[in-house]
Every structure is written in structure tokens, then in C-alpha cells.
Symmetry: D2
Subunit: 352 residues, 4 copies
């Protein structure tokens, strides 16, 4: 049959929160939005409702622009936030720097100014490493600080850290972009509402992530500061990120944000990561890296062990040189999954 | 409830094939692909199966690269088909020229060379209007002929016309791109298999359209000539068109192409357009434009009539100057829809 | 010897005003600016003086940004005048559309919207052919009208025509760019000061041409409306158009604009074109095209005659299809040159 | 008078080799190329001769493409050497990374992958820091290693170092670009012919610098490996780097490379730097940085001393944080200049 299942839906791993599928409530929302005709390109009732939802979470000035994926959300945001002569300060581990095949440069003509960090987090001092040369025509002008919350290294900025960072950026005349592919995990980790570490601290534009939080696909460029992203609706279209049947993207966010689903899913994923950390923390030879503040555990372990483990469970080596691996949890990771995996780690470590 | 319906699923119009929703079999396929973990970015069983499906329809050399939307499919294709110094001959009515907010130029740096046509169709002679200046360094080099099948004006190229066009383009050292947002409607209209007017006539790269044929979203860059699009997999990523949970895009195409669904849906849409044409063709004052060869009827009628009709049914004015309107049908247009609309046209025309 | 002459300095033709060399006064100015050290990138006394000169010609608000060449001047201007989502209305014969190898699209991501004209001149009505779709996200937003004065077809806009065009563009919220590669010829042709048909009619940014008026090289982006080109100094650098030893470009303009040299050179070139026109106008079979209003004569003559003439004098065929040729005069064209060429045309026409 | 001198031609400093003017022999060559008409855009006898000169210095396969400036030479080279999905490994101090206002990214869509170095020089190991992720679609593909000879930090690669670097790059399937803004200083420093550390070691494309070696302006993209830069002539035009009156750029290089002028000028500049180094090396509190291998001396000295010195002589602070300054010499620096400057440094250091 055409709608047939070709995979074993009972298999899960620790490779990526992109490996998981669609939350049942989200799938139901897609079905609910189906049937009949709705205006395309965002003039539908689901996208209208989306605006309300984002305003309720981020304040009355927020405006939401659904896009397809995280790279799209980031590159649309950054283009709309910069002039032709702008550059963007980010970390060396930022998704926009390492994982987008040069989309910011190739599509947006953006110069990225990467800064090395110990934990994936910028600080005012680290920003200053590259936020300089203002008024020097030989230097692409630093106009945006782009940070990732939670970071690509599994850490979370505190509200205080973000406040300081935004204040500093603004004092330099720069705007702040947050890559929030895992922004829900951040809210769960910090235990505060979404706006407490976005709108309220001064983030100007947010790439709000849905895909890693149980959507089929969908991210939203959320303009928190109405002056920060002129022309974003044109940039979205010219960046090939305007979906025609937008109701189906918006309806998914309706499922996510219209209830606590976004938060319960993220909280669960975070809990599973901490459960995994707790289960392996004391194993001799397994060194958990950095604080586990979201839905990822990074650890260094013997490469031979990794090799054997990867035959049993899917996960990625993060750094071939050091043997650091990444274990990700997601909304559908179960306690049994974690416990079985932790047991396997124990076994394989014991096997030497 | 979060999955709730916010619109009247019984309302349909004639505005666009993007206004319709998802075919139930496609929705079932999405659900069928859900559950458990599958590798992201295309390393899943559904995308693997997709390759088989496209090879079965387009020949063993075909390779399929799913993307999000039509603009994305076109701009990825054209970038992969050209060098930095290339230009693209197209029509003045081409979607890539008029409806993509400059994406080809802004994202791909592509120079488009538009040619005026009576019916949206290029011919070898029309190509020659702009396919010139080879070896002149002052001229962006014409490297691709991009045509749309069926055209933006509701017409279809015949197999013979496409054969001549591809031969001519190839004789000039140019490649042929087909914007196939409505390629299924073309197959239905011509009554031949998909490959008969693509692979077999020499089309090099096809933007295969799914969205207008009943998908939630999804198009496929189909590389028919393996030498025609080097690096397409990188270009897809840098163009922000690589979806992480690709299984859900691929599974939709599985529903479409794994049975006759693609063809029956397109055939039905075409039939509804012809039914509408037949019902209004003889009305005095309604002038149907160009042959109706796909799922669109273009007609000139009095602007006052249009204004009244648009209060009753959704459709677009195509050309404010001439009063030309566009009526589109889709897989879910019913005979009753057509008949009611035709009756309304009769009524409003009679009202003067 | 290294400074040796490798060509016959007594040979001139009618191919292009780029074929001529450097006016002796300009060469002297280069030598005068030599010796010692001067700050680079424009912080020199010659560039400082340049600002005064441009203000004296174009008004106290004018700001001058020297660049290397005409394509550079145009693409820097247009980038600085547009946002990322902008498009530019121009003619089909515009240098930016046909002769820059796609630089506006490839370097600036600019979408050009070409309009066909009989004589290379835009009008408000012709602008309206493409200046539409404001607020439509699917359309790159028309932000600039770019016209060429004198045109690529040898015609000149009158002050009245330009006034109407600028008023119309501004009424649409668009800016006006003038490609003034031959702006001096326009002043000579119209018999009015430079500012009378630039600043005073509302042109926002001018590409001021020096190369075709006797410089070694050099053009100037002249920002006439201070709000029209934010960031132009950054765009100049990122567009690879910032010269390090700028004193030598600026000093050339000092020679040109610090006296009447710019005008006498242009007037002479125009006079030579009219002399040529007068000498051939009455030859049966030579059809001069369009009014001769600058330093070019376009004519249709038998292809066999053209072929023989081109063995004796250098000039270009403008349109292979119609047999239209272009004869250009320049500051160093002599009356004897013109008379000898006209005599040759008479001879070859007589030879049939 | 229009050709008048506006500056004191007797004043020189140590700010930049761009502050100096035109060597008298070069100026004579410009004058020698003047008069009469010569075909534009490179079809002139001076550019024809240029090809011979470059072949004599770089081997029979070399092809020379004159451009305006160093940024232009680099960005044209890198575009021609890469596909749309390419990236470029360079140093953190590379001109292309820090001093071109993002031209590589903004004009070429190039992603730069900067590596930190102690002395401005890449090594195979340092290349490997970023030359990775081949075949990973998420990573812009490393296709070029770009190095600067002599470096922006005043050091020179040895022939052996370059051989190892080129071999390594080629073993990775990457090409090698050399930013040779000061390539003449390198030849003078190494005491070998130009081709010994370019063509012969495997450099694929060279940005040959003329401006810093006594030209008015002019650089040349030298394609040493004929397969390395397809379409370079189109890229030059679309990158706004094709000069119309090319004879005047080519003739300057004729003066430079047709005799030993290029080498004597560079040797002299280098000698003056070493003379300066020798004169200050033993001053307590003046710490010369890195080996002085070209025409620059970098030194750390007390900021108060720098401030007083800068009132007497022009030079730049290189690093505000450390107090490192840069002193550049050039073809017209005299021994007296150096001695007077060294004396001033002694004086001001003594003054504390």
C-alpha cells in the first residue's frame, strides 16, 4: 500500500533529535487543518492564529514568520537584520558557521566572525574579540551577535548571561539573533517562560525551532524587536523559505504552542539526558564534557568502546581527534531506552 | 483542542492549486512513516525508496533530490546547472522571472534573459533571441534554457515541441531545465508517460512538483542527465533546501508515485478545467484565452462581473489591464464545484 | 626600453571612445600628483579637492566616491541604493543589462527589470511597465529607475524628460540612478550645466564617467541625494572598487573638472559626430538611425560595404541582423579623421 | 593649473607601501602607451606583450589577466578556482579575511575558513585544522588553500615550506592560491626567480601585485595551472575588474617586468626594512616581532613613545592591545629616511 510503513517504528537511538518523528498531537493538527481550500502563502486562519500564539509567548510586539528549516530561519533572520556591508559575530561551534554549507555566506553574502569558546557560549568579552573596526571601510561591519540557545555543545545561557550579552551588543549598536533550534529545551532547562530569556533580555530576532521538538518540519523567524528585521517577508520569499500551503506548518505550531506540548516534550528530552548522564557519570573512563543543560550528553570515552557501542545504538562521534561523542535525547526517548543504553555503556566499558 | 480545525473544510474555490490541502492517501503516508527513529537528511528508507520510484518513472540514470518548494527546486536546479558566469533563457511569464522575488538573482547570482511569448512557450527561434553572445566576456553566458511544463499560462508543450527545443539548446551547448510544478498535469494532458516528454526528449534537470498535486509540501530536483548538475547535493544544502526529517517528504512522494495517484489527481484537475471551459466558452463576453491544456482556464470578462464573482468565489485577476482572470482547478475540485461556478458566471454575465 | 611605445600613435578609428588614450592635461595631472607619500584609500589632498570640485558642479550636498570603471560605478551605486529585496527598472539596451556580464545580478544580487524602448530612453509610461507589484512578496521590489545619459543608442534625455521621469519615480517611492558614462557629452549636447539635468531634476545617484572623456581610468559615484546611498563607502570596498593610491584617480578628475576640459573634450567629440552625420546623411543607402545627440552615429548600410570599410577603419557592427553599425567619436578625433572616413564611406557605397 | 601639485612631494613616512607614488619609469611607460587608438578590454599590443612577460617569468603555460587592485585580484582568483559550494582555507591575518570588507563572501559567496598562526604562515598541519569534512554536505567544501607571500606579518615562506604546502593541498584535491601583493619582495627576500616559489612549487593561481611595487595601480591574476581557473575572463568582467583602456595597466607591468625594475625596487624596500631593524633592534624596550623578511618591521614599543613618534612620522599601530606597530618601507624610502626615523625612535625611547 502507498501509505505503508517501511521502517521499524520501535527502533530509537541517540544520534539526533532530528531522527525522531512527529508527535501524535502534531500529526493530528496537520490532519485537522486539512480539507477544503485555504489561502496560500500565509493568508490562512492557522497562520493568523499562529500570530496570536507567538504574541502570547513573546509579547504583543512579536511577529512570526514560518519557514521550512533551521538553516532557513537563521539565514533569513540574519539577512533581514543586516545591510549589505554587515558581518555577524558568532562562535566557532555555531551551526551557522559549521553546519550550513556556507549558506550565510553563499545566499546572504554574510561575513561570519567566529570566536572560540570553551562551552559554546559567547560573553561580552568574547564578542569584543571580533566586534571592532567600526567605521573602518576595510572591515565588514559587525551588526549582529548570533548566539545559540541551547548551544550546539549542550549548554544553556542563563538569563543573566543573556542580559549581559544583549546589553553589550546593543551598546555597540549591534543586534542580537538567537538560533533557537532548541529554544524549548532552554526554557525547560532554565525553568522560565520563553520570553524571560528572549524578549525580556533584549533578543531582537529568534529562530524558533519546531523540528527538533516534535514537528514534521517547521521553524519560525520571530521578530521580537519590530525595527530589527525590515523586509523580512521579502527576504523569506527570495530565500526560498515561503511555503505555499502554510496552514500545515502553522497548524503544527498551533499544536506545539497552543498547549504545554512544547514544554513537556522539551522537559522530557532534557530529563532523559540527565538520566543518561547520571547513569554514566561515575563510570571510570567515561568523561562527561561540560554541564548537561539540555537534551545532549557529550562524553569522551575510548574509541574502541565507541566503535562497539555504535554497532548497537546509533550516535555520532563529535570529535574524531579526542574521541568525544554526542548522545542526544528527544521527546520520544523512553526511560527504558536510556537505561538500556547506559547498561550497554557499562558493559562495553567493562569489556575494555 | 490543539489539533482542532479552524476552517470550513467544505469551502473550495478556483484561486490556486496551492489552496487545496493534502490528499488523504498522502496524509496516510506521512502517518505511516512516523514513529521510531530514522536517519535524517535523506539517509532513510523512504528516501531510498524514492530513488527507485523516480528511476522507474524517469529511467535508471535519474537521481532525485527532495526539496521544500518550487522556488527552491528551481533555484537549486539552476545553480547546479550553471557556472558563476552563466545566464538562463526563459519566458517573460516564467515563475522564475516573475514570482520568486528575485531568488534566482539574489540567491544564485543568476542572470535571467526573459523572452516574450504569446502562450508561455519557448521555441528554438525565441531561444535565439537571447541565446547569443557566446564567448563575449561582456555577456553572462547563456547556459540553460528553462521552460515550464505545463506553462504558467495553462498551455502544454507537445513532445515534438520539447524535442525540438532540447535539440536546439543542446546544439548551442546549453542545458535544459524544466520547471515541472505542474508536470503531472502535463503528463495527463499529453497522455504519455512522464519520461516521454522529459528524459526521452533531452531535458537535463526537472523540478518535479508535488505540492500542487496534493502533497502537504515537497518538490524534487530530478537530475535526468547525470552530468548536468554537479554538486547538486551541496547546492541543496547551501540553498537551505535540505530537510532534516526527509522521510516525511519522501513518503509523500511514495504515495504519489507508487501508485497512479499522481496521474489520477492531475487528470481530474485537468478534466475539471475543461469542464469549466466547456461551460463558459459560449457565453458572450467571456473570452477564453489560449488553449486549455492543463488545470487552468484564463478568460477575459468584464471587470464588474469579475468583481461580483470574486465576492462569491475565490480566484485571481491575472492582468489588471486587460481584465484577464485565472481559474484553477485541483485534485479536490468537484463537478458540482465547477457547475456551480459556471452557473454563477452565467448569472453575473447576464446581470451585465 | 621599458617605457617604449609599441603602437602607432597616429592611428585612430571610430570603434569606441574607450579606444582613445589619455588627454595630455590628464597625464600631466597624474605626474603632478606623483612623488612623496600620500595617505591611501582616499585620505589624500587630491581626493579632498575632488570633493570641492564635485560640490561646485553638483551642489553642496554632493559627495564623490571615485571608483575604477563604469561597471563598478553602476554596481556600487545600485547596491547602495537598494535593500536586499530590491529590483531596478532599466531599458533593454542599458549597459547594466547587456554589457556587464551579469555583474548587477552576480555581485549585487540585483534583479533588473528591462523595458523595451525605441530610442534607449525611459519614460514614465515605460517605467510603469515594470514598476508595479509593490507590496507583493513574490516580486522583488522596484526601488530604482536606472537611466543612461547620454543613452547607449546615442540619444540624450532633455531636461524636461528627466524632470518628468524623476518626479514619476519619486512619486512611486523609487530612486533615480543615472549611468553617466557619457554625462559630459550630455551636458555638451544640452548646453546646460551638469547639475541642471542631474541634481536639479532629482537624480539621486550618478555614475560620473571619466574614462570615455579622456582619463586613463576613473569614474565617480556621485551621491546627489545624501539619503539615497547609505553605506556607499563600505559597498565600494566590498565591491573591490576602492583604489589604494586614490590620489592618481582623483587628480585626473581634478584636471577634467578643475577647468573646462571635461566640456571642451565632450563638445568636440559631439561636434565630430555631427560632422560625420552631416557628411553621410545624404548618401543613398546609408540610413542614420535616431537623432545624433552625442558622440555616436548609428547607421544602417549594406553589409558588404561595412565589411570593406572595416578593413580600412575600426568600428563595430551594432546589430548583425539589421546591419546597423556604430561610429563613435572622441576627444582626439580630428576633422581630418572624420572627413577621411566620410570619404571612404562615399567611396565604398559608390562601389556598391 | 590643472596638472598642479597639491602636496609636498618631499615627505615620506613608514605607514604603507600604498602611500608611495609611481616609479618614474612606470610613469614613462604610461606616457609611452598614450596617443592614438588601441583596442579596449585587452586586445591591445601592450597586453599582448604582457603575456610574453608573464610567460617568461612564470613559464609557458602562464596566462595573465590584469585587474585593478589586490582585493579584485584575490576575489577574481578565488571565484574562478571554486565551485558554488567551495570554501577557502586561509590564515586569520590574511588580507582576504580581515581587510576586504567581506568581498570574498559578499561578491563571491565564498566561505573562508581562517586558521590562527604564529607568523602569518600556513603549514600542512594548520591547513588540516580546516581542510576536512570532504563529502559532508553540511560543510562548504574546502577547495582552495590561500596563502600570502610575503605574509601580512612581514614573513616569507621558504621554497621548501611552499613545496610542502602545495603538495599537501594537492594531495587533498585542493588548489593553491597565492596572494602576491608583495610577491616581488618575496623574490628579493628569497633570492630566487619568481617561478621558483610559484609555478615550480605548484601554486595554481597567483595574485601578482604591482601597486605596492611602484605602479599607479594594477595587479594581475596569473593562472599558472591552466586547469585551475576556468572562466576567469568572465569572472573578471562580472567582478567589475575588467579595465577598458587596459593598455595603460599592461604598459606599467611592461616597465616593471620588462627590466629588473620589479626586483630592484623590491630589494631596495627590503633592504630599507632590514636597515631599520638593525638600527632599532638593540634599543631596550623596542621588541622587534618575528623575522624581518620583507619590507615591514613590526615592533612592540611603549604606547607613549608611539604616540610621540606618530606626530613626527606616519605609521600605523597594528595591535592596539599589545602596542605592536608596523613600519613599512617602499621603493622610494631612502637611507636618510630610515636613519632619521631610527634616530627619532632612539630619541623618543630615551625620553621614556
Amino acid at each position: 500500500m502507498t501509505g505503508g510503513q517501511r521502517h521499524d517504528a520501535g527502533v530509537r537511538g541517540f544520534a539526533s533529535d532530528n531522527y525522531s518523528g512527529v508527535h501524535p498531537e502534531v500529526l493530528a493538527a496537520i490532519a485537522g487543518a486539512n480539507g477544503g481550500h485555504q489561502a496560500s502563502y500565509g493568508d490562512d486562519v492557522y497562520t493568523e492564529h499562529l500570530q496570536e500564539l507567538f504574541r502570547s509567548h513573546f509579547g504583543p510586539q512579536a511577529a512570526a514568520y514560518p519557514v521550512f528549516n533551521g538553516t532557513g530561519a537563521n539565514v533569513v533572520s540574519l539577512q533581514a537584520m543586516t545591510t549589505r556591508w554587515g558581518s555577524v559575530v558568532c562562535t566557532y561551534s555555531a551551526h551557522i558557521y559549521v553546519d550550513e554549507c556556507g549558506a550565510p555566506e553563499k545566499m546572504g553574502g554574510l561575513k561570519l566572525l567566529p570566536v572560540r569558546t570553551p562551552d559554546g557560549k559567547l560573553t561580552p568579552d568574547l564578542v569584543d574579540v571580533e566586534a571592532r573596526g567600526f567605521d573602518d571601510v576595510h572591515r565588514a561591519q559587525p551588526q549582529v551577535v548570533s548566539l545559540t540557545q541551547t548551544t550546539e555543545l549542550g549548554t544553556a545561557y542563563s538569563v543573566e548571561e543573556l542580559t549581559a550579552l544583549c546589553e553589550h551588543a546593543h551598546s555597540l549598536g549591534m543586534k542580537v539573533h538567537m538560533d533557537g533550534a532548541r529554544v524549548s529545551n532552554a526554557a525547560a532547562s532554565l525553568g522560565v517562560p520563553l520570553r524571560a530569556f528572549t524578549t525580556d533580555v533584549g533578543v531582537d530576532v529568534l529562530s524558533y525551532g519546531g523540528t527538533k521538538n516534535g514537528l514534521l518540519l517547521g521553524e519560525v523567524v520571530v521578530v521580537l524587536n519590530p525595527d530589527a528585521a525590515p523586509g523580512v517577508e521579502y527576504v523569506r520569499k527570495s530565500s526560498m523559505q515561503l511555503t505555499s500551503k502554510m496552514r500545515f506548518v502553522s497548524a503544527q505550531f498551533g499544536a506545539l504552542l497552543g498547549s504545554d506540548l512544547w514544554l513537556t516534550s522539551a522537559t522530557h528530552a532534557n530529563d532523559m539526558a540527565r538520566r543518561l548522564e547520571a547513569a554514566v557519570r561515575d563510570i571510570d573512563g567515561v568523561e562527561v564534557q561540560r554541564p548537561v543543560q539540555a537534551n545532549a550528553v557529550f562524553a569522551v570515552l575510548p574509541k574502541a568502546v565507541t566503535a562497539r557501542l555504535q554497532k548497537r545504538f546509533k550516535f555520532y562521534t563529535w570529535d574524531e581527534a579526542t574521541g568525544e561523542v554526542r548522545w542526544m535525547t528527544t521527546f520520544d526517548t523512553t526511560e527504558q531506552d536510556v537505561d538500556a543504553f547506559a547498561a550497554a555503556i557499562h558493559e562495553e566499558m567493562a569489556a575494555g
